[in-house]
């Protein structure tokens, strides 16, 4: 590697310079500007210490609900990741696509799905009320803590399933076999061999899930109700309704600092050891479930996943085809009827509004932004992992920095974008690329987290062998790294894609009426009264689900033969 000195050094500098420049321009600059504005107005108006204390009170709840949500998500995700990386079964690909879909759902829509299932007049409550002749719905879901936890698990299980599952399927089975042969029990082998080898991926997934739960906003607001508040909710309230920008700024900094500390700790724990693993044939460890125990485990886990992740979406889709005519004055009984009206109505601009969104063009806008997000974040993420790989010690901070956008308050960053990109050529009004750029800020940490464990486990001997045999550095990358990174790359692409497709926070700040996305259109319908508007919001959400499902299916299809199975 030292043979091509100067150009190699330049190349390596570019590796970290490009992601850093991107972060500086699109993250630190807007964030700095808005925080500076907040600081200026803090100096002008004296900031009461009491209001600061009061505003900081959500910190404790924010932390423990995130920790609890993460534990629950791991409890569901890890066993699923094991089963999905070790067994072949019918409908596996469908289930894997379906379990990814929650990730794209805008909160309003996810809540609509959960309400259709568990709400005061959801299927479950109606059934129980009828069965036992109850007057009141027995299951309370809205405005409860377990509602929050449930929806967090719904959203984030796919992170564990994909990130850990991908690593597990590439794990060399001979390590575990050796341990077993040397007399270790199954449990011992798992504890002493497999889990330590999987640790980087498990840690990465845990970090991502925790940060998502830590900065949770929509779920807390809608499912938790007014009695629960996280930092992000407090930031929103201080900014939008109390106009206390200084306080909002301080809270945003606190949230960012927490993210920094958490990511730093993660990076410390994670980065100490690097275990090279000989790459294995994809699908080598896959087999059919044979024993009854295995079959029961598979069946049980899939039912659980279907119940927690798929059922709410199914309820949503079902509801988009159903009219519920309430029986006169009776709050608990309805006559359902099949209808396609919500869908046909989507294509009609019934009141000649200038803001009418044709579903096809909203879908195309969404797809275009999502594809751009995939490109941006894959490039940035790949550069970042290689920069860290080549200079572990001094560039660990890049790892931390690139993760920070996950912990940035969306409200604060959105306002930052608005006041920073105010002039040509980077004007919020005329530069539509700001939307995929904002999405890429959130997606890149996912790319890094999926690629890093895989890259670190590639044995150096493979690259050395290639070099010795005369391969140029570019060829070494093409022949050694690239094939081995293909699967984590795919996982990363799917995350980037879904993040962009469902994202609403930044889009609502940056969207222009000419290029509305599907989530923007959904919000437009659901913020008006009227059965048709509600129905159309559900129909549009179903379209979003189908669009995303198809895209994931196609993305996975892009893999070469033989890799499709995992």
């Amino acid at each position: 590697m030292s043979a091509n000195g100067k150009s190699g050094r330049l190349g390596r500098t570019l590796l970290w310079l490009i992601p850093l420049a991107f972060l500086a321009a699109f993250f630190f600059l807007p964030l700095g500007k808005i925080l500076a504005t907040a600081a200026r107005s803090a100096l002008e108006n004296e900031l009461g210490l009491s209001s600061f204390k009061q505003a900081l009170s959500p910190l404790w709840f924010t932390t423990w609900q995130a920790a609890l949500s993460t534990v629950l998500t791991l409890l569901l995700g890890l066993p699923s990741a094991y089963l999905y990386s070790h067994y072949r079964f019918r409908g596996k690909r469908l289930m894997r696509t379906l379990t990814t879909l929650p990730f794209i759902l805008p909160t309003v829509v996810a809540v609509a799905g959960f309400t259709a299932l568990l709400g005061p007049r959801g299927l479950l409550n109606l059934g129980l009320m009828k069965l036992f002749g109850l007057d009141q719905p027995p299951i309370m879901f809205m405005n409860t803590l377990w509602g929050i936890l449930l929806v967090h698990v719904f959203y984030n299980t796919t992170i564990v399933l994909r990130v850990v599952g991908s690593a597990w399927s590439q794990l060399d089975p001979r390590w575990e076999q050796t341990a077993r042969m040397l007399g270790a029990s199954k449990r011992q082998a798992l504890r002493e061999v497999t889990l330590p080898l999987l640790r980087p991926s498990i840690l990465a997934a845990t970090l991502l899930v925790f940060l998502f739960d830590f900065t949770s906003f929509g779920v807390i607001l809608m499912v938790g109700g007014p009695y629960f508040s996280t930092l992000e909710v407090a930031i929103y309230q201080q900014t939008m309704s109390l106009f206390n920008l200084p306080l909002a700024g301080i809270l945003a900094v606190v949230q960012l600092l927490c993210t920094f500390v958490i990511t730093w700790i993660y990076s410390k724990i994670n980065g100490i050891r690097r275990v090279p693993l000989m790459p294995r044939l994809e699908g080598e460890i896959l087999r059919q479930a044979r024993s009854l125990k295995e079959k029961v485990a598979l069946c049980g886990m899939n039912s659980l996943l279907a119940l927690l992740l798929v059922a709410p979406m199914l309820a949503l889709v079902l509801r988009s085809f159903l009219r519920l005519a309430a029986d006169q004055g009776n709050r608990g009984s309805f006559t359902p009827g099949f209808t396609l009206q919500y869908y046909t109505q989507l294509f009609v601009n019934s009141n000649q509004s200038i803001f009418y969104v044709p579903p096809v063009s909203a879908a195309l806008n969404s797809l275009l932004f999502a594809l751009l997000t995939v490109v941006f974040s894959l490039v940035l993420g790949t550069l970042t992992v290689y920069a860290i790989f080549h200079n572990q010690r001094s560039q660990r901070w890049l790892d931390v920095l690139i993760t920070l956008p996950l912990g940035a308050s969306a409200v604060t960053l959105g306002l930052g974008f608005v006041i920073t990109f105010n002039r040509a050529p980077l004007n919020v009004r005329h530069f539509p690329l700001l939307i995929p750029i904002a999405h890429a800020l959130v997606a890149t940490p996912f790319v890094v987290r999926s690629l890093q464990p895989a890259l670190n486990s590639i044995p150096t001997s493979l690259r050395q062998a290639a070099s010795v045999l005369g391969a140029s550095p570019v060829n070494v990358w093409r022949k050694v790294d690239r094939p081995l990174l293909r699967r984590p790359m795919l996982v990363a692409a799917i995350f980037a894609f879904t993040i962009s497709l469902g994202e609403f926070g930044a889009t609502s700040f940056l969207a222009r009426p000419e290029t509305p996305t599907l989530p923007v259109a959904i919000y437009r319908y659901i913020s008006m009264p009227g059965e048709l508007n509600y129905g159309q919001a559900l129909a549009m959400s179903t379209l979003l689900l189908v669009l995303c499902g198809l895209s994931i299916y196609l993305l996975e299809k892009l893999q070469p033969e033989g890799m499709n199975e995992i």
């Binding site: 309400t115 007014p226 490109v375 002039r423 009264p529 009227g530 059965e531 048709l532």
Partner: protein, 351 residues
């Protein structure tokens, strides 16, 4: 893989090219940018007529709810991102005026508009429309249970209405805030907390946003929730009729319009200080106050026109009740006390 990359590259460059192409104007009409809240809407032909008559291209910059749009305007004060700001209402007016984001403009059409709507003597903010935030009720439920319709705010604390009302959190939602102001108008700054405590004891349900209140909790919406009374707008009943899946011969809901039960929101438009297109901006303000726009508005934004010459659509007249004594508060009083009221309310009711 290489082919894929090339494909992606083509897609991206095509996308970039199409974005570029869009921003290059062909016959050079001047662009006038209007910042609004998300609920702004208008008919395509009404907007097109204005654009043609003035050789202008209107760009609407939707910026969240009214508070978010105002925040954005204040933060970009000096180098405004738009020429006109529409959507600041009487609960936010003082803040907008104090920050000095507007240029004053005495539109000739102001002469027609009743004085009760003109809240800014300097004419920096000109009234465009108004609407009442009211509690909607499920007509079928009240009929089936032979329940009397509540006539006053105090009625709502009676045991027979226990657990039947859902409202929005005033710290998160503009409708919730409007209702908080209505209770302050009725009971005063000293009495409103006690009233809310009584409501709470009577099983009041509080949720964070209008969506949840209307679609999850309200029994007369298509969400079929458990509460037959929900805080929404006086114009929601006609909207239920207009957007019904099957034609309705009557609205499923109606509003409680007793004294001080509804809060009247008035929405304003103003020219942003520092605009490069002052003359066009004036024309647009005139346009918003003209009969053409004012008659288009009710069915687009579900608000009432302030111009008395504008006639209302039949469905509005038929299904909207107009409160005789809507609650109002002086915008200056709101601006001075808003934070304190909200903090006190949060302390007493939520904690």
């Amino acid at each position: 893989m290489k082919n894929k990359l090339i494909l992606i590259f083509i897609v991206v460059s095509f996308a970039l090219a199409s974005c570029q192409a869009k921003s290059i104007p062909t016959d050079e009409p001047v662009t006038l940018t209007v910042m609004t809240h998300d609920s702004f809407a208008a008919s395509a032909d009404v907007i097109a007529a204005f654009e043609q008559a003035n050789n202008v291209k209107l760009v609407f910059l939707k910026s969240g709810d009214a508070g978010a749009a105002l925040n954005r305007a204040i933060l970009s004060k000096g180098s405004p991102q738009a020429d006109v700001l529409y959507g600041v209402d009487n609960t936010l007016l003082s803040r907008a005026l104090d920050e000095g984001i507007y240029e004053s403009y005495e539109s000739p059409l102001l002469a027609k508009i009743p004085t009760e709507f003109k809240m800014d003597a300097s004419n920096s903010a000109l009234p465009v429309d108004y609407g009442d935030v009211c509690i909607n009720y499920d007509k079928a439920f009240f009929a089936a249970h032979n329940l009397a319709i509540p006539q006053t705010l105090t009625d709502l604390t009676e045991p027979k209405y226990k657990g039947l009302l859902v409202v929005e959190n005033p710290t998160n939602s503009s409708t919730g805030l409007a209702f908080l102001f209505a209770t302050i108008a009725e009971y005063g700054a000293e009495g409103y907390i006690a009233y809310w405590q009584q409501l709470k004891e009577n099983g009041l349900v509080i949720v964070n946003d209008w969506n949840t209140a209307y679609y999850t909790n309200f029994s007369a919406s298509s969400g079929h929730g458990p509460q037959p009374m929900a805080l929404s707008y006086a114009s929601s009943p006609p909207v239920e009729v207009i957007y019904a899946a099957t034609p309705l011969d009557d609205a499923p809901t109606a509003s409680l319009v007793g004294k001080n039960m509804c809060f009247r929101q008035i929405e304003f438009v103003g020219i942003l200080k520092g605009t490069q297109h002052r003359e066009l901006a004036e024309k647009f303000v005139d346009f918003m106050l003209s009969v053409q726009f004012q008659e288009d508005m009710p069915l687009q934004m579900f608000m009432y026109p302030v111009n008395p010459d504008a006639s209302l659509p039949d469905v509005f007249i038929k299904y909207t009740q107009t409160p005789d004594h809507p609650a109002t508060l002086d915008p200056a009083v709101i601006a001075a006390n808003r934070d304190q009221w909200l903090n006190d309310w949060t302390e007493a009711i939520l904690h």
